[in-house]
């Protein structure tokens, strides 16, 4: 009996050791990549780097201000489009899970989530860039908004679906009309979950390059004109990393570092929000 328990304990320990080891092996490449980006990028970043546009070939210095501003504007515009639509669709899906419309739109959301980002770029190119006759920040924002939508929709839907039905009944039994039940009770109670979905979707699109290649296109100058081509961080990294000049490579590393920090901060923020504002049901 004792011997058998001994064997079982050993097996248990071996198994535990194995999963810890595998988890470590899986995490290792990620950590190496992160450390490498930090090592290559951190010394590029200074005030000059953040406030100047890229220098022409042959000149030293130069920064990424055009891409920082561009990314900010484009992500903001995408959010303005995708967040309200995403939340409303998410509410619909969680409120009416058994209707035909919900089934098909749920299916579309899943497919949309799987569409390669470059395809989204091509579609927006044909829908918006070609008719308007120019690359523009608007078209880039729309491409990114399409990338954001499924994440916002699904996270809203799943958050709201977890709320107990008794909550809705409590409000309805007080004579509260349906739209106010949703807006004043259901959405506020799921706020933390919805917000974290939004944050994650922003973290996801801020690094997208492919949909911007033939929409926002890129621009070596600082601009805020949304009907004109605009530079973004991932596109700047793409352009400068594939160039043959060392100076430009350094610029790309610096931009990668900034992008990484952005995503990291968004993720930490999301974690904090879900912990702080999570409502005890």
């Amino acid at each position: 009996m004792d011997a058998r328990i001994g064997i079982r304990n050993t097996k248990s320990i071996l198994f535990k050791g194995l999963i810890v080891f595998l988890a470590f092996v899986i995490t290792l490449p990620l950590i190496v990549v992160l450390l490498y980006i930090i090592k290559q990028g951190i010394f590029q970043v200074n005030w000059h780097f953040l406030t100047h546009v890229p220098a022409p070939v042959g000149e030293t210095g130069g920064g990424i201000s055009n891409a920082l501003v561009g990314s900010l504007i484009i992500v903001l515009m995408s959010s303005v489009v995708a967040i309200p639509v995403g939340i409303l669709s998410g509410i619909y899906l969680s409120e009416n899970p058994h209707t035909k419309l919900a089934y098909y739109s749920g299916l579309c959301v899943d497919i949309l989530q799987g569409v390669p980002s470059i395809v989204v770029g091509i579609v927006v190119y044909f829908w918006i860039v070609k008719p308007l006759g120019t690359f523009s920040a608007i078209s880039g924002s729309i491409a990114l908004a399409i990338m954001m939508l499924p994440i916002v929709i699904r996270s809203t839907e799943q958050t709201l679906r977890l709320l107990p039905p008794s909550l809705k009944e409590a409000a309805l039994s007080l004579g509260v009309p349906y739209h106010r039940v949703i807006l004043k009770v259901i959405v506020p109670c799921g706020f933390a979950g919805i917000l974290s979905g939004i944050m994650l979707s922003i973290a996801r699109i801020i690094g997208e390059t492919a949909p911007l290649l033939f929409t926002a296109f890129g621009n070596p100058y600082l601009t805020t004109a949304i009907t004109k081509p605009m530079e973004t961080l991932p596109h700047l990294i793409y352009t400068y990393a594939t160039s043959p000049y060392d100076d430009w490579h350094n610029l790309a590393w610096g931009a990668s570092f900034i992008l990484l920090m952005f995503v990291l901060i968004l993720n930490i923020f999301t974690k904090l929000i879900t912990r702080k504002w999570n409502i005890q049901l």
């Binding site: 409590a170 309805l172 039994s173 039940v181 009770v185 706020f191 005890q280």
Partner: protein
């Protein structure tokens, strides 16, 4: 019949094809405590939820027949108005988790967007919490979240929330089945005080509770209202053999 608050006449309710409330006729008088008892699945909760039109919120649920609040047909009134007039307390306490105790009590006004002056709000909150025998326990923590209270306190908070709307009738759907014995007795005590101002209809699984708290008792069985009479008579000399069998524990 001028004191009849809620009356049903040949009232029926269905879930899809499932006929759960069959030809129920009943007249409920003002300022009384009515217990509705019966075995599981007898339709008592469904009947209760028809009175404030919560039944129809379940997909596939339908109802037919006459159900009146005073002289008005409930099923032709605006359901929102019906629910103003007929409050409800649920099986499990369900305070709004995002609101403070204060805001939970006043929720019926706030969520409906009814403008009430601050002083009037304070008055309503104090009065409702006092009526729900909760004021002394929470008066110093009105702005804490309602979900920090114990189960029994939460249930009394839900009662206060219903009272705040000044309804005619308050429906209770097995209000103590999720509570411990001490909380249960405090809620039961409340029923005696509340009937001064309101008419209470209480669905309960618990026969002792029905006997303790109610003036009249209705016994539902297989969707039918078998017997409706003064509680004392129901428990001592029921006129229907099914009631007798139920009370003596021959089925449950």
């Amino acid at each position: 019949m001028e004191h009849t608050v809620v009356s049903a006449n040949k009232f029926n309710a269905w879930f899809g094809d499932n006929h759960v409330v069959k030809d129920v006729s009943i007249g409920i008088e003002k300022n009384q405590v009515i217990a509705v008892m019966g075995p599981s699945g007898c339709g008592k909760t469904t009947f209760l939820r028809c009175i404030n039109r919560m039944h129809e919120l379940i997909p596939g649920a339908t109802a037919k027949g006459s159900l009146k609040l005073y002289d008005d047909e409930v099923y032709t009134m605006n359901p929102i108005y019906v629910r103003y007039k007929i409050g409800m307390v649920f099986q499990r306490p369900n305070p709004f988790p995002n609101l403070s105790i204060y805001d939970n009590v006043i929720a019926g006004y706030k969520l409906n967007g009814l403008k009430v002056a601050k002083a009037e709000q304070d008055r309503i909150v104090e009065k409702s919490l006092t009526s729900a025998a909760l004021w002394n326990e929470v008066k110093d923590s009105l702005h804490k979240k309602g979900t920090f209270l114990s189960g029994g306190q939460q249930q009394r908070l839900c009662i206060a929330r219903a009272i705040a709307m000044e309804p005619e009738v308050i429906l209770f759907d097995e209000p103590t089945s999720a509570l411990d014995p001490i909380s249960t007795s405090s809620v039961e005590q409340l029923f005696h005080e509340l009937k001064e101002n309101y008419t209470l209809i209480i669905v309960t699984h618990n026969m002792q509770q029905a006997a303790r708290v109610s003036d009249k008792t209705a016994f539902f069985y297989m969707g039918e209202l078998v017997e409706f009479d003064v509680t004392k008579k129901m428990f001592t000399a029921p006129s229907d053999v099914r009631t007798q069998n139920y009370i003596t524990g021959r089925f449950s």
